[in-house]
């Protein structure tokens, strides 16, 4: 019996990277598919399915082309194709690859093969490209991590290398350090530069099957019947799964386990997983999917949070005590009502933040395999291998020791890969059923259904001040649209209030946040989880207050700065705090004093600040074990091996671990190997969320490395005949402090240690948060962090009154990360954050369908309709690192990956007010909205006094 009808393969000859390949290709196969899956050239990436992202860019006869939009059979005979694998030569990296690595451009690295090839083509035309030329040449390659800033630097550096002008790479180090504080290449930089890094979809196993998920077309419906018999009967289909095979409920937060791998009784959003199957190839899987019959009984959908709260609202989960309310947090600190009524001035406002998606360029992908011993191995594009491990064990109902989760290189996440997902569970289950490896590669649309993006929030805030400009009260009420499941929602509800009490403080505080279920893809944590939205509202309120009081907005923030070594109104312990320095830096760099309020109509400056956590006091499931564990082993070859569960999602945590080990053990960074996020090999770390990795895994690594350094030092001291205290190390050597010429190589030192102990030299380190952080009330520990980062932005905008377009000319971003372990990576995190926040302000929005018969459908779930910015319009971002030296962080370090996102959105709104006198309290700032606001303001002005000219 045959599978679905398919046109026959045809033999073609392809010239790739100088080699000639004969390949039998199906007519429907794209050049990208042939390169990746037939020739094993997996450096070319697949991001969007269809021509929207540029990740698949290759050079065809030297010109950049999209391999996903080229059928292999259409490639001109004799055309020379260059992929990223063909860029480096025997002499080493191409200058473009070298420069991208040196400049920090290779964050997750997923967009970069295509990006580097576009850059290569540009430099083939000119070695003196101007800024505009660089932006234009890269305008078809979307990057989600970098904000393009370091990519521009990289292209200029590559050009300089080609012109023979760039000095060789000298990383340096901060004073008092041998490695840390230097501008080191990333631990995986060369792998990402050459396309050698292995991401989930690059994994191909023998006999591997391909999975597909059937999703609900209804926003809310009861499942009446599923008949998969026809699909199962299709030759090439190995198994079909429905929800009854995986009934257990799970969720990242143990108190709110409400998800199922595949829906059983009902579906709660368009795109929810209903059935899954595995087949010999993707085409067969696609054909089989259409043969599964599902009968639904549609229910009225709940599409707004207000509708969810109606007394007779349809219940999204039946039998819940609180109905459609997933979590309400109502906390008060001090007498807010009294403060409001005694205030000199109160600013009241309503604000709205539309939901947004993470849109990493790598779609979710998972490969699962079961070996002959019954050991289940899952490679997944996840940022939380440990929670995936726990969830798989629970839902598959097998002991955790039978499950291994490995996170390969990850092509961006931003919080979008920090829940355990149905496709991970289903892949493992199908591998168990079929006895064969199974891969699921979600298409771009499916990533929008998987979602967990930023929650839409409707916020109402009243901010009070006394006559001296001291803030006396904040009263906040927030309605949070959670989508169909809980995800991290419990935490979201807390974060929406808990993270607002610094750096600009106030005497009394009340917040009342309610997260509700709606029939939409579930929301979750996106970079700056829970606090980007209220921060937007609050920082605008502060700006309004400044104007009402006639005080400069920077001055008002200074006056109300909480300062270091203090406790916030809601009981959070703040240690280091570099906010005032951040403010000073951006005030000066932007020429604020000379220019604020003085620019011509249409131009304006705006300021905002924020704080964010460096990890949370409690793990998501209560336990007394360390939140982060590191094991380091030294080898007589002179190498250290760091093992840690922490997820490198592009932010560079592997590099951070390597640098700490190198610093403590006197090694050059390239003598350190890192094995991370493999639950069989690395000690548990809870994952890359809540900005916890540098702080927690960094401290754990420091502890392990210091223990080892002690052992080595003792052995070396004996050998050199000096006291241990007089032995030091650096740059691959261990030596005497008094006589640096007397010493030995690290290899010799490690061998001595090994010999002196008679066993391999290894140690572990762990980090556990002080449990007494946070206020003494229910929920007081949520949002309590061992350290807080601080950020200030000044933004300059130009508002085009004709079109309503907001052109952000420049962002000055200063961020207090405590201490920059690697300034290049910190700058990359700051610029990437600024970009992401700006994008949410001016163009991004995950909204429902335009109208039409299925109102629960997402609007254009693809990377053309859901626009993420290109290199051309991304603003000029200038980054400043402020180092407040946190007393508890590793070498003084704290987070840099999420905090710097917050201020840019309100700063833009505040700058627009400076530019044109219009307040924008709703996101995103579509030109149409801005123009309408301008018109209303003009009508108001015309109707003055009293402003009755509402339009």
């Amino acid at each position: 019996m045959n599978g679905p009808a398919m046109t026959a393969r045809q033999l073609i000859t392809l010239r790739v990277n100088g080699d000639t390949h004969e390949v039998a290709v199906r007519p429907n196969h794209t050049l990208l598919e042939v390169l990746r899956y037939d020739l094993g050239l997996t450096g070319s990436k697949q991001g969007c399915d269809k021509g929207d992202c540029g990740a698949c860019t290759v050079l065809v006869d030297g010109e950049p082309a999209l391999a996903c939009c080229t059928l292999a059979l259409m490639v001109p005979p004799g055309a020379e194709i260059t992929t990223i694998e063909g860029l480096a030569t025997k002499q080493g990296l191409d200058p473009v690859q070298d420069a991208f690595d040196r400049s920090g451009a290779l964050q997750c690295g997923f967009c970069q093969p295509g990006m580097m090839l576009s850059a290569r083509a540009l430099l083939n035309r000119t070695t003196t490209p101007g800024d505009a030329e660089i932006r234009a040449a890269l305008g078809g390659n979307l990057c989600r991590c970098t904000g393009y800033t370091q990519i521009f630097d990289a292209v200029k550096l590559a050009a300089a290398i080609e012109r023979g002008e760039a000095p060789p790479h000298a990383p340096g180090a901060a004073p008092g350090h041998t490695v840390l504080g230097g501008r080191h290449r990333k631990a995986d930089g060369h792998l990402k530069a050459t396309g050698a890094a292995i991401y989930a979809d690059d994994i191909v196993l023998p006999r591997m099957l391909h999975g597909r998920i059937l999703r609900s077309p209804h926003a809310h419906a009861r499942i009446v019947r599923i008949d998969a018999s026809k699909a199962l009967a299709l030759p090439g289909v190995h198994a079909v799964l429905t929800g009854d095979a995986l009934p257990a409920r799970y969720g990242v937060i143990p108190w709110t386990e409400d998800e199922q791998a595949l829906a059983t009784d009902k579906v709660r959003f368009v795109g929810e997983e209903v059935a899954a199957l595995a087949a010999v190839d993707e085409e067969t899987a696609d054909a089989a999917l259409r043969l599964i019959e599902v009968e639904y009984a549609p229910l009225p959908p709940v599409l707004t949070p207000e509708a969810a709260l109606e007394p007779d609202a349809p219940q999204i989960f039946e039998g819940r005590k609180h109905g459609n309310v997933t979590k309400r947090v109502d906390l008060a600190f001090g007498d807010v009502d009294a403060a409001l009524s005694n205030a000199h001035h109160v600013v009241r406002g309503e604000y709205f933040f539309e939901g947004t998606a993470h849109a990493p360029i790598e779609p979710h992908c998972v490969v699962a395999d079961v070996d002959a011993r019954g050991l289940v191995t899952v490679w997944s594009s996840t940022q939380i291998p440990h929670y995936v491990h726990r969830t798989l064990s629970k839902v598959l109902e097998i002991p955790a020791d039978r499950v291994r989760v490995i996170q390969p290189a990850l092509g961006g996440a931003f919080g979008g890969k920090s829940d355990p997902f149905g496709h991970e569970i289903v892949a493992a289950k199908l591998a168990m059923i079929t006895g064969r490896p199974v891969k699921f590669l979600l298409n771009r649309e499916e990533t929008f259904y998987t979602h967990r993006g930023r929650h839409p929030m409707k916020m109402s805030m009243a901010l009070a001040a006394d006559a001296e400009g001291r803030l006396t009260a904040l009263d906040s009420k927030i309605l949070i649209d959670g989508g169909a499941y809980s995800s991290f929602g419990l935490v979201t509800a807390y974060y929406s209030g808990q993270l607002l009490a610094a750096p600009t403080g106030y005497a009394t505080y009340r917040f009342d946040s309610t997260r509700v279920f709606t029939n939409k893809p579930p929301c979750g944590p996106k970079r700056g989880h829970g606090s980007v939205q209220p921060r937007f509202a609050f920082e605008i309120a502060v700006d309004k207050m400044a104007h009402a009081l006639g005080v400069d907005p920077i001055e008002l923030r200074r006056r109300n700065d909480v300062g270091p070594d203090t406790t916030t109104v809601n009981g959070q312990r703040i240690t280091s705090n570099g906010f005032l320095e951040c403010l000073r830096v951006v005030e000066q760099a932007s020429g604020w004093k000379q220019r604020y309020g003085r620019l011509p109509f249409g131009r304006g400056l705006g300021v905002a600040g924020s704080m964010y956590i460096s990890g949370t006091a409690y793990p998501v499931y209560p336990n007394d074990m360390p939140q982060s564990g590191v094991e380091i082993r030294l080898d007589r070859s002179g190498r250290a091996h760091v093992m840690c569960g922490a997820s490198d999602i592009g932010q560079g945590s592997n590099t951070m671990l390597a640098l700490i080990a190198a610093e403590e053990l006197g090694l050059r960074p390239d003598a350190v190997r890192v094995t991370s996020s493999d639950t069989d090999l690395s000690p548990v770390d809870l994952g890359a969320y809540s900005s916890r990795v540098t702080f927690m895994a960094g401290l754990a690594a420091q502890e392990a490395a210091r223990a080892l350094a002690g052992e080595v030092r003792d052995a070396v001291a004996v050998k050199l005949g000096v006291p241990s205290a007089e032995v030091t190390c650096g740059d691959g050597r261990w030596f005497s402090l008094r006589d640096p010429a007397t010493g030995m190589t690290a290899a010799e030192a490690f061998a001595l240690a090994e010999a002196s102990r008679g066993r391999p030299v290894g140690a572990t380190g762990g980090y556990r948060t002080d449990r007494n952080l946070g206020g003494p009330y229910r929920g007081g520990t949520i949002g309590a962090s061992p350290a807080y980062s601080f950020t200030a932005h000044v933004v300059e905008v130009e508002v085009d009154a004709d079109t309503g377009r907001i052109d952000v000319k420049k962002v000055w971003a200063a961020h207090d990360c405590g201490f920059a372990l690697n300034p290049t990576l910190v700058e990359g995190q700051i610029a990437g954050s600024v970009y992401m926040g700006w994008a949410e302000a001016v163009m991004e929005e995950q909204a429902m369908v335009y109208g039409g018969p299925n109102p629960g459908l997402l609007r254009g779930p693809n990377l053309l309709d859901y626009r993420i910015p290109t290199a051309v319009e991304t603003p000029d971002i200038e980054v400043f690192i402020v180092q407040s030296q946190d007393p508890n962080g590793p070498y003084g370090a704290k987070e840099a990956g999420e905090g710097p996102l917050h201020p840019v959105l309100p700063a833009i709104a505040n700058a627009v007010f400076d530019a044109v006198g219009v307040r924008l309290d709703r996101l995103p700032f579509h030109p149409a909205v801005v123009r309408q606001a301008l018109r209303c303001a003009a009508a108001d002005a015309a109707a003055a006094p009293g402003g009755t000219g509402r339009c």
Binding site: A5, M6, T7, R26, P27, N28, E33, Q46, D49, K50, G51, D52, G54, T57, P64, A65, L66, C69, T70, L71, L73, M74, P77, S118, A136, A137, G139, G140, R215, P217, H218, V270, E282, E283, P363, N443, R444, E445, D802, T803, V849, Y850, G851, G852, P853, N854, L857, G860, P861, N862, L864, D865, P869, T870, A871, V872, E873, P927, A928, Q932
Partner: protein
């Protein structure tokens, strides 16, 4: 990943006659593909379900640029990148060079052809989506269904012409050389586009566009183009405008304005006054263009805003023309 259904074969003819013969043989089951930058996404979305794809890529003689005579001749396979960067095209046909330089991103412009852009399918927020999405919404007239989600009532598809080359080529009075079984014919571009979103051009079964012919513009003629989009790269037009007029001693004569990305057919604005080229005149042109344009919620962008932007784009296109 979205895979294309494995249900077609690919033909790679090398002469126009072979192309025509293949199209003739396979009738409606065949589809021409040039650069493929639009055909490929449409295949992925299941909008096209051909049995045979006829690739023009290897056809000889379709990538010529002849700028020496009158009319100027632009081969259907000339890439957008080549046109946008070509110094003489930029000089002789500035609005066309600008327009094709505004198409998509650098890679698309190197793959995409002028013929493909001229023949580009119409677009709609309800149609350029996956099969799953369209099915979840309910199929529409343009493919697989019987309703229109834009007009709700109408029986006609009002998907928008979204090719950036059309407005400037219309103001250039371009003609198309078309070859079919009956031989070669020429059609004024003005007669090529028809007001039907399902298929908005007059290509008959078995026909292929081989050249775009543009009367050599008089030196006094000015051309400008502008496009409304959110991103400055890889964004289809939310509106695009081309203007052309003779400019002699400050007087604008024979003004011509085409507005597109509103309906299936690009719209030529009628009754434009002549006169001294100043902001008053341009405002009148803008007003005329505004009056004759009624955007629909068929593509992204607020409808009212898109309409209000018509005079703004007219002004900017005029400014580009007189730069």
């Amino acid at each position: 990943m979205l895979r294309i259904a494995p249900t077609f074969t690919v033909e790679t003819p090398t002469t126009v006659d072979e192309v025509v013969a293949l199209l003739q043989r396979h009738g409606p089951e065949a589809r021409v593909v040039a650069g493929g930058t639009d055909v490929m996404p449409n295949l992925k979305h299941g909008l096209y379900e051909p049995k045979v794809l006829v690739s023009l890529g290897r056809v000889q003689g379709l990538d010529g640029l002849d700028l020496s005579g009158d009319p100027l001749s632009l081969g259907a396979l000339v890439t957008l990148h080549r046109l946008a960067e070509h110094p003489e095209v930029r000089h002789l046909l500035p609005s066309l060079a600008a327009a094709v330089g505004h198409v998509a991103g650098p890679q698309h412009r190197r793959m995409g052809t002028l013929g493909g852009n001229v023949c580009l399918d119409t677009r709609c927020v309800y149609i350029n989506q996956t099969y799953f999405w369209r099915e979840a919404l309910g199929f529409c007239i343009k493919k697989d269904g019987t309703e229109c989600h834009v007009t709700r009532t109408g029986k006609k598809c009002v998907a928008a012409a979204s090719n950036d080359s059309a407005p400037p080529l219309l103001t250039l009075d371009a003609r198309l050389e078309i070859v079919g079984v009956g031989g070669r014919r020429e059609v004024a571009l003005d007669d090529f586009y028809v007001n039907d979103g399902v298929k908005n051009n007059a290509l008959a079964q078995g026909e292929v566009v081989t050249r775009i012919l543009v009367p050599r513009p008089a030196p006094i003629r000015r051309f400008g183009f502008d496009k409304l989009r959110i991103r400055e790269s890889v964004d289809f037009p939310m509106l695009n405008v081309a203007v052309a007029f003779d400019l002699v001693d400050g007087q604008a004569r024979r003004p011509d304005i085409v507005v597109s990305a509103i309906a299936a057919r690009p719209r030529r604005v009628k009754g434009l006054p002549e006169g001294l080229l100043n902001h008053v005149l341009v405002a009148e042109w803008g007003e005329k263009a505004f009056q004759s344009t009624r955007p629909l919620p068929n593509i992204n962008g607020d409808v009212e805003w898109r309409r209000e932007m018509v005079p703004v784009l007219v002004r900017r296109a005029v400014a580009a023309a007189t730069e």
